[in-house]
Amino acid sequence: MLSFNMSEEQTITRDTVARLVKDLIIDTAHEMDEAGNIPEEYIQAAWELGASIAAIPEAYGGYDMDYSPMMNAIILEELAYGDMAFAVAATLPSMFIFPVYEMGTEEQKKKYLPLFCKEAYTPCTCAINEPGFGFDPHKLKTKAVKKNGSYILNGEKCFVPLAKESSHFLIAASCDGENSFFIADAENAGINIKKPERNLGLYSLKTYEVALDNCEIPAKNRLVGNSDCNYDKIIQKSAIAMSAIGTGVSRASYEYARDYAKERIQFGEPIAHKQSIAFMIAEMAYEVEAMRLMTWKAASMLENGKDCQRDSFLARLYAGEMSMKVTDHGIQVLGGHGFIREHPVERYYRNARGVAILHGMAIV
């Protein structure tokens, strides 16, 4: 039935995540951004909420709960409201765990899931994005060629979060024109992790360029997929995740600007009393709402077992456009103060630029 109301479970989960974000992240996100690091205990605290492994059966170390893309979208918005880099880092293992669980063979699941489905956060990552002009996740330039009992991978990857810290990777590559994931061990020869990247945003998330030079991966490590899940589905789910994240970042900017406008006095009254400021804030409010509803619509379709290629595409496109618009307004409301790093709106703006660009950073 059509409903815009969260269930009790959804409300409780949202409130729990919101509390964690308020206690640990809101006041420290700036320091983390400056330091280029997120303290392990914060990541661990978020990990202990269990979202990444909730839907994994106990046999593999999970909690055997129902899989819910909607719940994941709710959680990601809250985490990203605190900090986008934190949202990506804290849920990063999902980008390995989910595809292996949904597309993997019994043997693959048995072997890899228990390594990460446990109480301690254990980094593992996913390499989809590629450097250079014209990247399209459906037209990967990284190639896998079958040779004897192996695949030989060649190509360049970028924005691979925690590549150096991870023991395992999922690597996206095209094999005979078909896009696939390959499970790789960090020890595998031919995986060359370069030095940490320095990007426009997400300062506190360590990301790396990774070169694949004749990287040989056993044939049994290919994630073949099935009728329920394949590479495209994972891209769809990560598109919805990114729109949830975009919603969270935008909401943070909106709320900060809203509160600031009521405090800041110019010409003898709060700037919020001026229409040109107030209308920008009104627009920020309804665009945040619209982004969230677009995300929820796509997540609903996924939850109801429908094809969501169109809706996930539109949700992400919308979030990409609107998170730039909203976070841009956020800076304008603060004027020159919005350009100074002490105010979070500048970080929201830099981070939001990634919403339309980054693929496979999170999943619902």
Binding site: L2, A272, A282, W296, E321
Partner: protein, 394 residues
């Protein structure tokens, strides 16, 4: 539990409305665009039709088994979108389903409903000097014995010619500001009540819009909306403003419907020319036309979901004035932008009267104006979220 997909019964309702719009409204759309001010006789078939009836809540069967009960607002936005997709002028011209009928249902007394329930009622708020600032209205109502005597002028009254009676807002005490404002049911043949003229408009030409003058216009004392005895209790101005919480999502849906008509048509024409939107294409590989198309689709869907949310909240008895204005602000603007972009993409086909696109562009423009302009919607949203009064944020 959040679920943004329509339930089966609402989907069916949507489907029925679409068929209706396609078979009844579309074929006569151009005809009445050209025959401005002529009443579309074809609409007579809709008088009193179940889909559009404006019954009093107390008269509605409390039949819980009816699948769509308690979804009146959702049905409202769905039918508005579908019918406006067919032709928005006709949506405004459905007999006995005028804005005045809505006011009668929400604020009329039982006796008034008995008398006017089967009539077509227009609504007259706007005056030459009171548009967005409706509480500045100057039309006066004075009690004289058993009559009210009305004086003033009302402009831009939808269905002015077609209606049977008009719900006129007037002030009983100018010094009391909006507290002094009341609504009055005025029969068209009341003495001193004159339809002065019908406007010639850019669009919505299939819907008539007119000016009424009132010169010592006399109506019975009991015709104050809500009944004379109850006048002190009736909500007057505030009551009318509250009906906006249900009507604004519907006007939003109307804008969405017209924009969707333009977008659907553009999609068809693109397909005939082998441009099929591919939702898997990377942003680097899409053409400018495709990018425009995707953005329009996304904005349309965003506006629709905002209007659904506002309507759903009204159905679930949640205060929704912020959400209703959000939906109207977004949809009013996007309706215009999308339709105008479609005309651009269609090129000569978007200008020629051989096709309906140019008509939709003319029709949709007013959706960002009536029922509160885009600016007024922003004002309402901003006041609500910033917690500012109307003197702090003017």
């Amino acid at each position: 539990m959040i679920n943004l997909e329509l339930s089966e019964d609402l989907k069916q309702y949507q489907e029925d409305m679409k068929v209706f719009a396609e078979t009844v409204f579309r074929p006569i759309s151009r005809k009445y665009d050209e025959a401005e001010h002529e009443y579309p006789q074809e609409l007579e078939d809709l008088r009193g039709m179940k889909h559009f009836d404006r019954k009093k809540k107390s008269e509605k069967p409390a039949d819980k088994s009816e699948p769509t009960s308690g979804k009146a607002n959702m049905r409202g936005v769905i039918s508005s979108e579908e019918i406006a997709w067919g032709d928005p002028s006709f949506l405004i011209s459905i007999p006995n389903a005028g804005l005045g009928n809505v006011a009668l249902v929400t604020s009329g007394s039982d006796e008034q409903f008995e008398k006017y329930g089967d009539k077509w009622l227009a609504m007259a708020i706007t005056e030459p000097n009171a548009g967005s600032d409706s509480k500045a209205m100057n039309t006066t109502a004075k009690l004289d014995g058993d009559d009210w005597v009305l004086n003033g002028e009302k402009i831009f009254v939808s269905c002015a010619d077609r209606c049977d009676a008009v719900v006129v807002m007037a002030t009983t005490d100018k010094s009391a500001g909006k507290e002094g404002i009341r609504s009055f049911i005025v029969d068209k043949n009341s003495p001193g009540f004159t339809l002065e003229k019908l406007e010639k408009k850019m669009g919505l030409r299939g819907s008539d819009t007119g000016t009424f003058s009132m010169t010592d216009c006399r109506i019975p004392k009991d015709n104050v909306l809500g009944g004379f005895e109850k006048t002190n209790k009736n909500k007057g101005f505030k009551g009318t403003m509250q009906t906006f919480d249900t009507s604004r999502p519907m006007v939003a849906a109307m804008a969405i419907g017209v924009a969707r008509a333009a977008l659907d048509y553009t999609r068809e024409v693109m397909a005939e020319n082998s441009i099929i939107p591919d939702y898997k294409k990377g942003s680097i590989n899409i053409s400018s036309i495709e990018k425009d198309f995707f953005l329009m689709e996304a904005n349309l869907e965003a506006a629709r979901l905002l209007s659904w949310k506002a309507a759903w909240m009204a159905d679930n008895k949640k205060p929704n004035s912020t959400e209703a204005s959000m939906a109207k602000a977004k949809a009013g603007r996007q309706g215009v932008l999308i339709t105008q972009k479609c005309c651009e993409l269609l090129g000569p086909m978007g200008l020629s009267t051989k096709h309906l696109a140019e008509k939709w562009l003319r029709d949709v423009r007013v959706m960002d104006i009536f029922e509160g302009t885009g600016q007024i919607q922003h004002l309402i949203v901003a006041r609500n979220i910033l917690e500012l009064s109307s003197t702090q944020l003017k």
